[in-house]
């Protein structure tokens, strides 16, 4: 661990819209990005519903914050881990998810996907490998 840099993991386990947790979790991520820590996002259980594309909140009358997920790459938040088992249990696959990308400064700013589909076991190890876990 570098001096003064901690590994932060934001764990998202709740669906969007039904409660405010997903939206307010994103607000923490955006503010946290300014602190130059090592940041990863985990989506598991109902949290995987947050990344499903095709949101239309017009009839509901709430804020559509899907674009905020798309903007994460601009905030240097580029490590997004989605649990495979959670997707499959809910009848979803990677094709159902928003395309979240970032520009890799170490590779001539090539556009790359931020999303890593990981197994449940890999997710468990990811949690163990971080210093601070913020749960939503």
């Amino acid at each position: 661990m570098s001096e003064g840099i901690k590994k932060f993991l934001y764990v998202n386990r709740k669906a969007p819209h039904g409660t405010i947790y997903a939206l307010e979790a994103l607000e923490v991520v955006l503010i946290g990005a300014a602190f130059e820590q090592d940041v990863s996002l985990a989506f598991l259980d109902d949290g995987v519903f947050q990344l499903v594309k095709g949101w239309d909140t017009k009839e509901l009358g709430s804020k559509n914050f899907a674009p905020t997920y798309m903007a994460l790459g601009d905030y240097d938040v580029s490590k997004i881990y989605v649990e495979k088992e959670s997707l499959e249990e809910r009848g979803l696959s990677e094709d159902d998810l928003m395309e979240l990308t970032y520009e890799d400064e170490d590779d001539d700013w090539a556009e790359k996907s931020s999303i890593h589909i990981v197994s449940r076991e890999e997710m468990a190890r990811l949690m163990a490998a971080n210093d601070v876990i913020l749960s939503f």
Binding site: R13, K14, D45, A124, M127, A128, V132
Partner: protein, 101 residues
């Protein structure tokens, strides 16, 4: 690098305990608080699930057990009862905490 997992949901209503157990690693500790303590009731499906897990230490918060009428006679085996001070000790003796909200 042991983790303290904090579970506050009844296992009969939410999947938090199940998900926690799916992600806890050997050497970790799980503390059951608030409605999470219902997992300790002897003979329950959740208590049986706890018994089948190896390599994980379980604790439950005494204030929440007492409030819910879960006395020693109703407790499943293998779960340590701790007070708030014991909860603090678990937090400081593990390397980090994860709340399964």
């Amino acid at each position: 690098m042991a983790m303290l997992h904090i579970v506050n949901k009844s296992p009969y209503e939410k999947g938090a305990l199940e998900s926690c157990l799916n992600h806890a690693l050997e050497g970790d500790t799980v503390i059951l608080i608030e409605d999470g303590v219902y997992a300790c009731v002897k003979g329950g499906r959740a208590a049986n699930a706890l018994a089948s897990v190896k390599g994980i230490r379980f604790a439950a918060l005494s204030a929440d057990l007492k409030a819910r009428g879960i006395g020693e006679d109703k407790m499943t085996e293998g779960v340590d009862v701790v007070d708030y001070g014991g909860f603090v000790d678990l937090v400081t003796s593990c390397d980090k905490t994860e709340s399964w909200l």
